[in-house]
Subunit: 334 residues, 2 copies
């Protein structure tokens, strides 16, 4: 399979290295992945016979300003576009254009980019179906944690009745710090920032927006909805105190930032909020930067999935997972 | 897809009912499942246009002694054989013959039967590959709990380094009863038998053999091995006392019957044993009849899957899950 790799940030570089590390293992299975294009914001490189990715990473070959996204559309010598440009949840660009045009032109797409999936999954899915290609989005909702696979493949043939998850590693880490060290929110946040877990502007994580984004994507994809951020009630973790946490611990309870979609009589109730949970809840033991999701289904019971190592390599590995599953013939989209 | 259903016990009946309940949902996705044969130990029924399964279940139509497994091979009017005869881990029969011949004749197979998979997975996989058909075995290692999917699909592109699981609901239930009610093993066993959770002869469950069987299948399938029961160190739960459990609880620990495969320097170490685990272990919270599996992988980190509702309907739903995933094009076997 011939790939175009768009996006040359941390995950993009980790992905190119991973392709190299896994080359033989994949070939043993008959999966031959060639990278014909690497595009960055500074231009691109192109080799119709496949780029030697390790040589490229080690020697930081110069990007050419002439190799751009339209070059791929003109040459038509790829089978799949791997879209890893930064997330933009306003209009999804530039990812939105890359994904839309790639699908329209009959290329499979695997993406790490939450923006276009959040804003336009239904439309993109329809384009993919029309072009008879696949759209892999596993990386957008928890990276290594197989949330989309869990809902689509592990519960195939059953109906999902509710979704519940600890979907943001940063806020989970902060809550854990407050709990284990008895410190207040600001101190735990500073520790997370010092360790590179939280951003300088942590709002996306601690105010619940990242959780809401992932939950919305899962809700739309797994429950066949077309909801927007306006349909979600979002609360973050910034108002919690060390005293709240200690009080809960006395009763054997822990605070977790939970994203939750449940069916109500007429519609879905979609929310992100701090919840006190007990040891009977499988989300109780989800510590540190770990993440988890729990589905309730009609015929296959409850399914809780915990894991999702953080970092660029696991994120890259989750991109590779979608690629491998598409190579093995899986039709996420019929 | 035209099915032959072999085995008319609890799971077989639940499967036929489920096919009926899910008919419309599946048709919406373009999956049209017709049952052309139902075979039981008392004979079979056959309709080349598809049996009306609900009418059949409600009116208990008589089986004809003339419709047998060889009829399917002669008529060749099915695409998939669903094998649900009772497990026999001595020689795998009659399932072994059904599965082998079905694969040789170019029919996909989805099975709930542990025997043939335990004894001959590697050989059966080779036949399937040669015939270019699929072999779905998800039901054999925990029913609704997606253990095989988890290892093959959710960790696609990564290598599994270890497997650990609470794979037997009955022994887990008994340990939970001892713990929550402070009773001894025999009393908890009697309760499990009264509730229909444990068999009259509970040895398969409480002596660790069921766990060992599932663990062996997972080890062979996911780590590309060809191990037998002789390679597994098996211990059950019968010697544990209420005092042991109380002592552990004082230190915040719980006993679980854990099946575990880990890589040692030269070979794998495969064992089933009672382990004391703490709240940091995600298997700690696996209560009642629930099951769980935990994989450690090279690039996608740890993955713990908890769930697996018990009973004939979830088991049947796990058969349907494999069928749907095969219909969606997934190649478990390349």
């Amino acid at each position: 399979m011939r790939l175009a790799v768009i996006g040359f940030g941390g995950v993009g570089k980790a992905f190119l290295k991973l392709l190299n590390d896994k080359k033989e293992e994949l070939l043993e299975e008959g999966i031959d992945l060639k990278v014909n294009y690497i595009l960055s914001s500074r231009g691109g490189i192109y080799n119709p016979k496949g780029i030697n990715t390790m040589e490229f990473l080690n020697n930081s070959t110069t990007f050419s300003k002439d190799i751009i996204f339209d070059t791929i559309l003109k040459n038509r010598d790829v089978d799949m576009v791997v879209e890893m440009t930064p997330t933009n949840i306003e209009d999804g660009e530039p990812g939105m254009t890359h994904i839309t045009k790639s699908l329209e032109n009959g290329f499979h797409v695997v993406t790490a980019n939450k923006g276009p999936i959040l804003l336009a999954y239904k439309r993109l899915k329809e384009i993919a179906a029309k072009s008879n290609v696949q759209l892999g989005i596993g990386c957008t909702t928890g990276g290594a944690l197989p949330t989309v696979n869990g809902g689509i493949i592990d519960l195939a043939g059953s109906k999902i009745l509710s979704i519940e998850g600890v979907l943001n590693g940063t806020s989970n880490f902060i809550l854990n710090e407050m709990e284990s060290k008895g410190v207040e929110y600001m101190e735990a946040l500073k520790m997370a920032q010092k360790l590179g877990i939280a951003e300088t502007n942590p709002s996306l994580d601690v105010d619940g927006w990242d959780t809401a984004t992932k939950l919305l994507i899962l809700t739309n994809v797994l429950m066949n909805q077309n909801k927007t951020m306006n349909d979600v009630k979002v609360e973050g973790i910034t108002s919690i105190t060390s005293a709240d946490i200690k009080e809960a611990a006395k009763n054997g309870l822990k605070y977790k930032l939970i994203g939750r979609t449940i069916k109500k009589e007429k519609d879905l109730e979609i929310s992100v909020s701090l919840q006190k949970i007990d040891t009977d809840n499988h989300l109780y033991g989800v510590e540190g930067k770990n993440k988890a999701v729990r589905y309730v289904s009609d015929t296959l019971g409850d399914l809780t999935i915990i894991g999702g190592a953080s970092g660029v390599t696991p994120a890259a590995a989750s991109i590779l997972r979608d690629i491998v599953n598409i190579c093995r013939g899986y039709k996420f989209i019929q």
